[in-house]
Symmetry: C2
Subunit: 293 residues, 2 copies
């Protein structure tokens, strides 16, 4: 089975060739068919058809810069960088409701737009020289410092999210800020100088005191809070004894396939509430359920 | 076969628990057994034993900040952040010679240290507010802006590097700046809002005009120029016709297993010079050679 993660499958052609071509970009901006993503702050606006709402470029605030998301069916699609949106805007309840409602491919397009504008909002100054004279480059997919010449590109933060497996059971844990009953796969950022596989082993050691072997990659998806790349993995633990880092994980337990299946089925006596379908932990758990032991 | 990529296997215990514990960090800095990585600018210094050279903490420049790499056999290991090193220091020939010489595990420790100090050198200012009053946090694994409070963490840039496969042959290409004769797997940065698998498909389309399906992840390694996470993949192309983006790729060809084997064997009539063992393209090609069709 090939799992199909959430927040993937956007129909956008990112059209990299247009980004460095000033004439082509000007043409796209002048194209009457061009569309602008409607946003409410950083949150999506959903139309009556249950899909992302788009308007014409005329809807953009006068002082906003238009960033080229790409082409859909040959039509240019933009998002406006509105500097009045506060950086590090909190994840709202509205955005999670929207991700629940939107078709997967629409959520993917939104995720790309959100990560891109959120990156600009948090990187208006040059990290190398401190200048505020940093300008948007590559149709929105970079910044260039006019003072020192440094180029900056949108950040993508790789994250490992993983199941440790022992004797037909996998490890689930919960962070203090999770909704009541929610348990999920453990996760953490990949650090400079380590591989995906090493990050999986390190995080399970740090957070749960588990030593693992045979780390296997399963699948990946973007996560736009603010710009993670989630890589779902599974690894084998020979010793299931746990030592939790309670600053990260307030509780954790091992659960078998029947327990995970009951949780997905919404059984009254379920051991936990599973993560939502747009989260890769959901995909990872469903993949594990359907993968023979 | 499980491939063993270069620049992995460092014996460092990153000791995350020490990073947020001021007393533990002070103890590590006062530990007479603590060691300091010797560097020449950003390049490694190799001892007579062919391994990384380490000194005592007393060797650090007086005004340098010591960053905690982690523990090896319980001993704290540091690297000095010397602000006299120019940011964006060019990759020297010396560093590639060193990566050729160093045992894989030693190269991995160096890669972590290099990426970390190179990140600080390029991020002395707060990208959110422009302040130069940004201070080192978490024993070196972050910065905090004293002016606006923003936290910044070392950047890791996910990169996909991939073989397209068609009818028992894989696609190799060369960038203009490669050494003479060198060909390698195509590669590119993962962008915000896409998965690993989507990035593989997009890059092969942009650089070679190939449509691919069934993207599979093989393995990963860090690459400290300046801080990439290389994820090696393979994908199936049904149509082998190429349209090269010659700004990225000056030449490309399909080659079968016999051709790749001849290149690794250094045959006089080899079609290309393969990438060095510390590059993941080397690991990926060897994995493909040894994986049944």
């Amino acid at each position: 089975m090939r799992p199909l993660p959430g927040l993937t499958g956007s129909p956008l052609d990112r059209a990299d060739r247009l980004r460095a071509d000033a004439d082509a970009l000007a043409n796209a901006l002048g194209d009457w068919r061009a569309r602008l993503l409607r946003l409410d702050g950083l949150d999506p606006v959903i139309g009556a058809d249950g899909r992302l709402a788009w308007g014409s470029l005329a809807e953009a605030p006068e002082d906003a810069t238009l960033l080229l998301l790409g082409l859909i069916d040959g039509r240019p699609h933009f998002v406006a960088l509105d500097l009045r949106i506060p950086p590090n805007a909190a994840r709202s309840r509205a955005v999670f409701r929207a991700l629940d409602l939107l078709p997967r491919e629409e959520a993917a397009t939104y995720a790309a737009a959100r990560s891109l504008i959120d990156w600009h909002l948090r990187h208006l100054f040059c990290a190398r020289c401190g200048s505020g004279d940093s300008v948007i480059a590559r149709a929105g997919w970079g910044r260039r410092c006019s003072a020192c010449g440094a180029e900056h590109f949108p950040r993508v933060d790789p994250v490992v999210i993983m199941l440790a497996e022992h004797d037909g059971r996998v490890l689930l844990g919960r962070q203090p800020q999770f909704p009541p009953g929610r348990y999920s796969a453990l996760a953490g950022f990949v650090e400079p100088g380590e591989s995906v596989e090493e990050a999986v082993a390190r995080e399970l050691w740090e957070e749960a005191g588990l030593r693992v072997r045979d780390v296997r990659y399963v699948t990946s998806q973007p996560w736009p809070f603010p710009s993670s790349l989630m890589m779902a993995c599974i690894a084998v633990a020979d010793d299931p004894a746990l030592t939790l880092d309670t600053t990260e994980i307030e509780d954790a337990f091992w659960i078998d396939r029947a327990g995970v299946a009951a949780a997905f089925a919404g059984a009254a006596d379920r051991a936990f509430t599973p993560p939502p379908p747009f989260a890769i932990a959901h995909t990872l758990l469903r993949w594990w359920l359907e993968t023979p032991a």
